[in-house]
């Protein structure tokens, strides 16, 4: 199975029905993608698939053939990734950090003029038990502002 992982072409020999989450963490050795539930409820396993945030625990490997996958390890190279990573540290969006990779990737497709409701909606499928969310919203808002300034 061939796909692009964080900008590099990659071939993986695994069962086509294997969960993308397990392939990323196992065969690809990228453990930044987390598992919180394995049933599409928590978003800890969020990655970008052709630029769209998906739960990698629900995606079979076969589904990514020929597509582009971005994980937290490759997030810095995306348009908003670096600003989001920095803001999650500076604004308290990351406490225990287990939801953080998923949160950052769920927020990554947002444009710099996203409204508060658009931010909430983008993150709707991602659970955080530590922050209660206000600090995550502040992090995303400040990152979007920063990436606007940077452009």
């Amino acid at each position: 199975m061939r796909f692009t992982l964080n900008g590099k072409s990659r071939t993986v020999n695994a069962h086509p029905m294997k969960r993308l989450l397990d392939v990323l963490r196992g065969e690809c050795g990228l453990t930044g993608t987390k598992e919180g539930c394995g049933e599409g409820e928590c978003g800890a396993c969020t990655v970008l698939l052709d630029g769209v945030a998906v739960d990698s625990c629900l995606v079979p490997l076969a589904h990514v053939a020929g597509k582009k996958v971005i994980t937290i390890e490759g997030a810095a190279a995306t348009r908003t990734g670096k600003a989001l990573q920095n803001a999650f540290v500076e604004q308290g969006g990351a406490q225990c950090g287990i939801c953080t990779p998923g949160m950052i990737l769920a927020a990554a497709p947002l444009t710099s003029h996203a409204s508060f409701d658009e931010i909430r909606t983008a993150l709707a499928g991602n659970l955080c038990r530590c922050t209660g969310y206000p600090a995550i919203f502040r992090s995303v808002q400040s990152a979007l502002k920063a990436s606007k300034r940077a452009r």
């Binding site: 963490r25 990228l30 453990t31 930044g32 993608t33 987390k34 598992e35 919180g36 539930c37 394995g38 049933e39 409820e41 928590c42 800890a44 994980t71 937290i72 390890e73 997030a75 810095a76 989001l84 990573q85 920095n86 999650f88 540290v89 500076e90 604004q91 308290g92 990351a94 406490q95 225990c96 950090g97 287990i98 939801c99 953080t100 990779p101 950052i104 909430r120 909606t121 993150l123 709707a124 991602n126 659970l127 955080c128 038990r129 530590c130 922050t131 209660g132 969310y133 206000p134 600090a135 995550i136 919203f137």
Partner: protein, 702 residues
């Protein structure tokens, strides 16, 4: 101050337990009971080669999980007390080979009759009595008596990273890595179970994806299981629970029943408080005695009253053991008193703020245990600030009779272990000189709350060095002293204070030299300091009287919400949380603790329902155990007040737990304002629908 663990967490570099592998590692699984009570009569196991199977006969030491009472077996011998009772352990190199064990292992049992009602149980884990003044005299002085019964249910911690460990055996030693709050609890459990000398057991905390109490005592039994398998197989064994197993088997918040009988004068002064507290401990004692202890001590709330009687019992039932969860007994009893106070206000037709103002504890007043409060007692300050910030009275008036409601709660939370607990713990902290500054050596764990950052700030300030010159050693029992568990809002106030003392000692020893100069001239050195109680602190475990805590943090919550008149769904509109915590070492992280704890408290009040059916959690999935999502998050206004506590580092008190004490009663009081008489949580739409609409809302709010 940039948090120490921030960059690793946002780049995916931070290593949590499931991110680690060891050469030759096996995966372990637990075979559990499926009945709530009974006796094992036969075990049939037919597994091909390649499996390692262990049962209680593979335990070299005594078969119990060492904590307080030695009552919980690590693996059942023949008695079964709950549906998740661990019976056997199985390991295999291929994780998938562990999937359908039930087709190859069968356990025959004789079923017993389970008890789920703590009041019907005949096994009591712990009883506590607190008496102050003369209750009869108090009731004689009363013009009015108000009774009430309040109930709270289980709550799941729901850290996003499930419980997990890896045990690595090696020539007479055992090392366990894992997600945990208390490495030395795990260490002790392993030393006892494996019958090894302490220096042959090593416990290392890996990056931990949330705890909230759920990784306080539970990791001990899991570490024991992995170690038994690892010892038998002679290979490392990884055990990570999936979400369903984590929900079914691990500890939850104790359900409670609290009954109040309260005497007051006509104008609202408390004259007598008679309080009965029952906690449902589940199948084994675990931490129930101490949860009950914190619960009863907080049961009279932040109020002054000369005549108080409190009785508490923790009872056994046939569900998986209940255990630590942020707040540790206090959210249950504070829910009861704060819901009760609003019922009293309603009955006496007194404004709920005025009733609280009149009775709130002030500096110099004594609590139920007879503790005289210091100048940092801040009940009135937090109350007034929250009322003002939220414009409580204006909204209360404007929304009367509508489907919008506003309610408040006032509370306190003791920082550190209860009573003589800190003296018994005798925690230690160390500081080691490095060429560029100092390295912190403590067993306090970073579980998201910011331990590393906050400790480094305290040390940097006390040493007069930049924050970046301070390193923090990982919580590894081979290197760090026992600083006690990371629980009870003690990591800042108690362990932080020890570190402040270490830093001051180190500074004296350095004299005029910089760390680099000293290091070059004389080499490294380490200073250690050990807990000593602040002068004058008195406590008696026999009479349950005295100074229950070194100090208290104080809080007031105001919740504004709206009830859908058709579906009875409740939408929180705004939450005001004012907290007086002595000194916020890192204000952003303190606010993060308050916002996160408040959200958990709102979930506790409204949506988080553990449906117990025949002793088993019937909704053991994230799909139907509902914690707040980004869409439910109400805007929060957090206010921090600081009234320094003389014996905390730079005046700091505890902050971590208190935020979860107040939201539930504030929600229920807001619902009362909307006309719903709710006395138990969670207040699900079904419960609201059933509740008597005693002065139903007529018009919709705006």
């Amino acid at each position: 101050m940039r948090r120490k663990d921030g960059d690793a967490k946002v780049t995916g570099a931070a290593k949590y337990i499931d991110d680690l592998t060891f050469p030759g590692m096996l995966y372990g699984a637990t075979v559990r009971s499926s009945i709530p009570r009974g006796t094992i009569t036969a075990r049939h196991i037919s597994l091909p080669d390649g499996y390692t199977v262990a049962d209680h006969r593979d335990i070299p030491g005594p078969n119990y999980v060492a904590l307080i009472d030695p009552d919980q077996p690590c693996l059942a011998v023949d008695e079964i007390r709950h549906v998740a009772e661990p019976l056997l352990l199985v390991a295999h190199a291929d994780k998938d080979a562990l999937l359908h064990l039930d087709t190859r292992i069968s356990i025959e049992t004789r079923n017993g009759t389970p008890t789920y009602d703590p009041e019907a149980s005949d096994v009591c884990f712990k009883k506590i009595a607190i008496d102050k003044g003369d209750l009869d005299a108090g009731f004689k002085a009363a013009d009015v008596i108000v009774d009430g019964e309040y109930r709270t249910a289980h709550q799941e911690q729901l850290y996003i990273e499930t419980n997990g460990v890896i045990a690595v055996p090696g020539d007479g030693r055992m090392t366990v890595y894992g997600s945990m709050q208390c490495p030395y609890y795990v260490h002790r459990a392993l030393v006892v179970l494996l019958a090894l000398p302490p220096d042959k057991v090593r416990v290392v905390q890996t990056e931990t994806g949330g705890g909230f109490g759920g990784k306080e005592e539970y990791p001990s039994i899991l570490a024991c299981h992995a170690a038994i398998l690892a010892r038998k197989a002679g290979r490392p064994v990884k055990m990570i629970y999936d979400r369903v197993e984590d929900l079914l088997a691990t500890t939850k918040r104790h359900p409670s029943i609290v009954r109040h009988r309260t005497g007051l004068t006509r104008d609202g002064r408390l004259t007598a408080m008679d309080i009965d507290v029952i906690m449902d401990g589940g199948a084994y004692a675990t931490l129930s005695a101490v949860v009950l202890s914190r619960g009863v001590i907080h049961a009279a709330g932040p109020y002054r009253c000369d005549h108080i009687r409190i009785r508490g019992r923790a009872m056994m039932t046939h569900t998986p053991p209940n255990g630590a969860f942020r707040g540790f007994g206090a959210p249950q009893t504070l829910f009861a008193i704060e819901a009760h106070i609003d019922r009293i206000a309603e009955q006496l037709q007194i404004d709920p703020v005025r009733l609280r103002e009149q009775n709130a504890l002030r500096p110099g007043d004594t609590t139920a245990t007879g503790q005289q409060l210091g100048r940092d007692a801040s009940a009135l300050a937090v109350l007034r600030d929250a009322v003002k910030r939220s414009r409580f009275h204006q909204k209360r008036k404007a929304w009367a009779g509508t489907n919008r409601g506003i309610g408040l709660s006032l509370f306190l939370h003791g920082s550190g272990f209860t009573g003589g607990g800190e003296v018994k713990l005798a925690s230690k902290a160390s500081l080691e000189l490095t060429p560029r500054g100092a390295r912190i050596l403590v067993a306090s764990t970073e579980i998201g709350q910011g331990t590393r950052t906050m400790h480094a700030q305290i040390v940097a300030d006390a040493l007069g060095l930049p924050y970046d010159a301070i390193d923090v050693h990982e919580a590894d029992t081979a290197f760090v002293p026992d600083s006690g568990p990371t629980v009870a809002s003690r990591t800042c106030m108690i362990v932080g204070k020890l570190l402040e003392r270490c830093a001051r000692d180190m500074r004296r020893r350095l004299g005029t030299l910089t760390p680099a100069q000293y290091y070059k001239k004389h080499g490294a050195f380490t200073v250690t300091s050990q807990y000593e109680p602040p002068p004058g602190l008195q406590w008696s475990d026999e009479t349950y009287a005295g100074d229950a805590y070194g100090s208290y943090a104080w809080g007031c919550n105001v919740v504004e919400l709206e009830v859908d008149p058709v579906t009875f769904d409740v939408t929180p509109l705004n939450v005001t949380a004012v907290a007086e915590i002595g000194k916020a070492i890192h204000p952003m992280m303190a606010i993060g603790q308050i916002e996160g704890g408040t959200a958990q408290g709102i979930g506790y009040a409204l949506t988080e329902e553990v449906v117990m059916k025949d002793g088993r959690m019937a909704n053991a999935q994230l799909t139907n155990y509902i914690i707040p999502t980004p869409l439910d998050a109400a805007p929060m206004d957090v206010g921090l007040l600081e009234r320094p506590y003389a014996h905390g580092p730079f005046g700091a008190k505890g902050v971590g737990e208190m935020p979860i004490d107040g939201p539930a009663p504030a929600v229920i009081n807001a619902l009362r304002h909307c006309g719903f008489d709710i006395r138990s949580i969670p207040a699900t739409p079904e419960r609201l629908m059933r509740a008597r609409l005693h002065h139903g809302f007529s018009k919709a709010g705006t």
